[in-house]
């Protein structure tokens, strides 16, 4: 099941498809996409709304299974993993940051960040220090007992980032992390994500529709349109293909 990751990317998709049946019609959210991301790379997945970016991210995160094709992470085929193995993969190999933060509103900052450690069965005595370190990284170590509702959007996203980092994953998947933030706060979050890539050597896959953001932080961009990969993937600073609605922004 596992390819050797040494000469392969840490994330690799091979002709991956995700189709949904909606009544009589078939929605091709992801339609035969193949690409590879190397270890420690910062890659942006660009595309307009409905282009299939988030669907592709869900497949890479192991939250969804492809209709056909393969998704390999660290050489392991996610489609062949059991539900239990996929949960283990999400727990230890990846960290996810969502546009909507997805913090549990009834839990404090401390409890939210602690949650992946609880799921991993980490001992209670070591959890406190790990959580504080993660919150320190995002500059929120003084808001431990606050609930998400008492924090600003930027602060909530910092908590979500700390939660994604707390189990020290190799890969950080960020799905429109600045989508709900003003531009200044969005840049602060992007700086933190960039720092994870530069300082911690984490592989980052950033889903965004903002070309400027991708151009500023990502080393490479993949352009997605109607579930397919546009051929011009490469330097995010290069102009987008004219048929791509996302192209005009860059």
């Amino acid at each position: 099941m596992a390819d050797s990751p040494s000469n392969r990317g840490i994330i690799r998709t091979v002709d991956v498809c995700r189709h949904y049946q909606m009544g009589d019609s078939v929605i091709r959210a992801v339609d035969g996409i193949s690409f590879e991301i190397g270890p420690g790379e910062f890659v942006a997945l660009l595309g307009s709304s409905g282009s299939g970016k988030s669907s592709l991210l869900n497949l890479i995160a192991g939250l969804d299974r492809p209709t056909s094709g393969e998704v390999l992470v660290n050489g392991s085929k996610l489609a062949e993993m059991t539900g239990e193995e996929l949960a283990h993969f999400r727990r230890y190999s990846i960290g996810i940051v969502f546009q909507a933060f997805n913090l549990i509103p009834t839990m404090t900052v401390m409890e939210n960040v602690e949650l992946p450690l609880r799921l991993a069965g980490t001992g209670r005595e070591s959890r406190g220090a790990v959580v504080r370190k993660a919150l320190d990284q995002v500059g929120l170590s003084r808001r431990l007992d606050h609930r998400p509702g008492e924090l600003s959007g930027g602060e909530q996203q910092r908590v979500a980032l700390a939660r994604a980092l707390v189990n020290s994953p190799q890969i950080l998947l960020a799905d429109e992390p600045t989508g709900n933030l003003d531009s200044r706060t969005g840049l602060e979050i992007m700086e933190l994500i960039h720092d994870c890539n530069q300082r911690l050597g984490m592989t980052v896959l950033l889903v965004t529709h903002e070309r400027a953001l991708a151009g500023r932080y990502a080393a490479r961009a993949l352009f997605l349109s109607d579930g397919k990969l546009a051929p011009e993937d490469g330097d995010p600073a290069t102009p987008a293909p004219p048929e791509s609605p996302a192209g005009g922004a860059l």
């Binding site: 949960a87 999400r90 996810i96 549990i104 949650l115 992946p116 609880r118 799921l119």
Partner: protein, 458 residues
Amino acid sequence: MKVRDLVELAGRNLRESALRNALTTLGIGVGVASLVAMLALGAGLQAMATRRLEKSGLFDTVIVSSRRSERGPGRSETDENSASSPLLDEKARLAIERIPGVTEAAPEVDFGTEVRFDGKPYPSAVAGLPMSSRDREAFEGMQGAFFSSGSAQEAILRQEFAEDLLGLKHRPAESSKSTGEATAAVRPLIGKNLTLRYAERVSGAQGAEPATDAGAFSVVPRTATLRIVGIIDESPEGMRGPSGASVFIPLTFAESLHVLLPSDLREGETTLATPAYRTVSVRVKNPANTQAVEDAVKKMGFNAFSALDAAHSLQRFFAVLNLFLGIFGSLALAVASLGIVNTLVMAILERRREIGILKALGATDADVKKLFFAEAGAMGVLGGVLGVAMGWALGRAINGGTNVYLHTQNLPSESIWLVPWWLVAGAIGFAVVVSMVSGLYPAARAAKLDPVKALRYE
């Protein structure tokens, strides 16, 4: 996920919807209380019946008689079986007393005689009672006291006989008012004396040679003064002889009187040195051993009889009663279990996004399932404890009310409500099991949620 973390998360989730979960838990509590109430009533009634029957001496007593004394149509006095049967004498009584499980083997000493009180004669039946009879039901709430010792020259009278001594008319009916009045009317008898006239059997017939006729005896009229120490309303004799005695005296004292008994007149049956008993009443430590003791006595060559079959029927009756009470009590718990299903299904709808987050962070389907199970189980434990407490309080209240009523009827207090430890543990355990079974469907539904769809849920 570790168990402690699971319990913590479940507790936190329950606190978040405190009112709804408290109402669901209260529903379980009411269900458990109804179950406890029904079964406690059954257990209480069974315990009361058992207690009463044990005190009546019906189920822990084996009546032993000699086969020699069997006389009747179709049975000749020279019947070989009867003739070879051992004599029911003191030696046999001691042997019976040594049978494992036997606490006492008391001979029956009763005789008809004349009692004089205030110069007037009263024909009456007198019976000896062992000191162990003190815990019999008949002595509960008696007027006066039980015998001070086995050899004391004391007497306990039946209520009707006491009324006769005072020349009172018998009560026409069992009304509580007349009972109370009559009870008070005979009280002055306590402490007074009465004279017992009886025929004593004395060794050696006048003019006969003791060496040639060891069984010969003479009869001498005697009197004994007895102090009245108590008055009882019902017979304490249980299964013991059909004497229907009205005057009771201590057994050891009764034996020391050497009263001439009808069996003494049967030739060759007894001598003064080895008096034979008509019957011996054997008390068994545990009613469960009655059958074994009865069999052992029969093996010794005596007749034995107990009311064990009646006890078995009673056990069957209470088993069926408890089953029905349990089923009725469980109905409320069954309704409460629907409340759990409803609460947890609502929780899934409300926490759909939270379940999606948990799965995105690495929770397995089993983790999600266990979390909902833990919440259902916690409601079951809390509801079970609450229900047992409510059931217990309800039982205390009903017990109190019953005793107030019994008191107005001049009847002794009774405990018709019993919450044994097995009922406490069983009710809580049952509540947890019912809750967890109720949580099966919601937990499975939560575990199957698609994380992508759950994360999109607003």
